[in-house]
């Protein structure tokens, strides 16, 4: 079983989002970067599968040298080796093209992405990558088991859940519930220092999109308080004043 886990380096969930350069750049000053939480689930599930079936888990990220702390953490959690494609991840299309170029002759049986990155929320890499590699894909999976060359998966659908079978090789994106993330232990952290981390230069591609700028949502006016005694009036207020029910 040869597994590839795509990892995105994202701002910690407690980050206050601020933009600079006339609202064209996300301000990374003082921001703590972490492995995208959904990618961490992918990594853990990948490790669980190889522990059961044998094999390797390679993590791959598209990013500059400042992403190596996250990569080392992924290695400490248990990944076999890591690949960093040395480029700024400008958009999902670019990231998918870079990963596809690396993965196309590596014969991975299973490729994990996260459901989305918690910063740009595109949720595109799974589908883009699968189509570029000519592989099937299943999005937002909550469960995956391997049976020979078949994967039995469950995915979220609008208002419910679907069970599917898919043939390997396969690209999937991880949703919560897939597993519980693992925390690296001291042995893992020590081992991570000597695990292979290959730096690959990006292939030349043509941009498909350009970021124009950002904007923060308008802040709400001050809250209108209702006393506990008058709590029942809330319904009337929502109907007559807010006109929302």
């Amino acid at each position: 079983m040869k597994i590839l886990v795509c990892v995105s380096n994202v701002p910690d969930t407690t980050t206050k989002v601020i933009f600079t350069e006339n609202n064209t750049q996300f301000n990374t000053a003082g921001v703590q970067f972490i492995i995208n939480p959904y990618d961490e689930l992918s990594l853990t599930r990948g490790l669980e599968l190889t522990e059961k079936l044998g094999g390797t888990v390679t993590v791959i990220t598209v990013g500059l040298a400042d992403t190596e702390a996250s990569i080392r953490k992924a290695l400490a959690i248990g990944a076999t080796d890591a690949v960093r494609i040395n480029a700024t991840p400008t958009d999902a299309y670019f990231v998918a093209e870079q990963i596809a170029a690396y993965a196309k002759d590596q014969n991975f049986d299973l490729i994990f992405t996260g459901r989305e990155s918690i910063d740009y929320n595109g949720g595109q890499v799974c589908g883009l990558l699968a189509e570029m590699l000519g592989l099937p894909s299943v999005n937002v999976i909550t469960s995956i088991e391997i049976d020979g060359t078949i994967a039995n998966v469950e995915r979220d659908i609008d208002g419910g859940r679907e069970k599917l079978t898919a043939s390997l090789p396969l690209v999937v994106s991880a949703q919560k519930e897939l597993t519980e993330p693992r925390i690296p232990n001291m042995r893992g952290i020590m081992a991570a220092r000597t695990k292979p981390l290959t730096v690959v230069e990006p292939i030349a591609t043509e941009a498909t999109s350009a970021s124009v700028g950002f904007e923060l949502p308008a802040s709400k006016g001050s809250v209108k308080l209702i006393s506990v005694e008058d709590a029942g009036t809330l319904i009337g207020i929502l109907h007559n004043e807010a006109k929302i029910i």
Binding site: T13, A92, E131, S209, I244
Partner: protein, 323 residues
């Protein structure tokens, strides 16, 4: 200019998101003197297909095939891209439902098209082709310029209105061109929660947090939800403690929702939670801590004990419903 719109059918009928997508495509067409083609994979009766014309589809391409009745990312992609090529489409509109999220990127890669997902605006073509989308789970917006000849727009459900713009019904049946070998993924079983309103589609959401002290008190959330025809949700700690299923968790690492009304009971309003709900039109926070951050994000607030407050609201809601 041709705009292709994917109209998703579920069990032979369309949901509101499909009509929203057709309406969206139709508005682009009106602004740019274009026409709208809707593509429908799966078996749908003509009278149902005709509904798409009501919202502005000039042509409806029906691709009937038993194996296409259930969503399938790979084969739907092939069907849509074949129609896009035949029609010479320069824009493909897809509703960003769970199915749309798996489909849109595949379509983009196959058409070598730039893609924006989670779109919340009409395209601005004054300088390039710029659309606005949600980023940082609702904490900010990003404006993105798609620079390729073909563009894929995955629009956020529940964001654009359905607008009637009746066109002559023009249904064309097309061959899928698919063989059994194309179906490398197969649906085995679908379980939809029946009788409950899906969170992402709900116009009213009632949500509970740790302040409710335990799953045995969830009747306070459910009773109000039932009275108002609302969906129920919860905060991350609540789903982490398995008081409620993960599928109800709203927030940055859960579901992002934007209902008309969001009522948060016993949720402090941590930044990660607010990220998933801040696009709600009206927010009501109920919390015993007057310093809870939710009161800074809410339109209405009640500071006090939820166990004292909720019965009064539920009673009023039941009376309102009867009245």
């Amino acid at each position: 200019m041709n705009i292709l719109v994917f109209a998703e059918q579920i069990d032979g009928s369309f949901k509101k998101s499909a009509f929203e997508a057709v309406s969206y495509a139709s508005q682009i067409a009106q602004a740019h003197n274009g026409n709208v083609t809707a593509v429908v994979p799966g078996n749908v009766a003509d009278d149902k297909l005709a509904e798409l014309a009501l919202y502005g589809a000039n042509k409806i391409v029906s691709v009937k095939h038993d194996n296409l009745n259930r969503f399938n990312a790979e084969t739907y992609t092939k069907v849509i891209c074949n129609v896009a090529s035949a029609e010479g489409s320069s824009i493909v509109v897809i509703s960003n439902t769970y199915s749309g999220k798996s489909l849109a990127p595949r379509v983009a890669a196959r058409l070598k098209a730039g893609i924006a997902s989670g779109v919340i605006s009409m395209p601005n073509t004054n300088s390039g082709f710029v659309v606005r989308r949600n980023v940082f789970s609702g904490k900010a917006f990003a404006d993105v310029n798609l620079t390729t000849p073909i563009k894929v727009l995955a629009i956020t459900p529940n964001t654009f209105n359905t607008l009637e713009n009746a066109q002559a019904v023009n249904i064309v049946n097309a061959e899928s061109g698919l063989t059994d070998a194309d179906f490398t993924t197969k649906s085995v079983e679908i379980n939809r929660v029946t009788g409950k309103i899906p969170l992402t589609e709900a116009e009213i959401v009632i949500s509970g947090g740790r302040g409710l002290k335990g799953p045995e008190n969830w009747h306070l959330v459910e009773d109000l939800a039932n009275a108002l025809g609302a969906a129920t949700a919860c905060s991350k700690p609540v789903s982490d403690m398995h008081w409620r299923p993960h599928s109800e968790h709203v927030g940055q690492t859960g579901i992002t929702i934007k209902p008309n009304l969001y009522i948060a009971i016993g949720i402090s309003g941590a930044i990660q939670h607010l990220a998933g709900v801040s696009s709600s039109k009206v927010i009501v926070a109920i919390n015993k801590d007057p310093e809870a951050p939710f009161f800074k994000a809410a339109d209405y607030g009640i500071v006090g004990d939820a166990f004292e407050i909720m019965p009064k609201i539920i009673e009023a809601a039941k009376a309102f419903k009867v009245g």
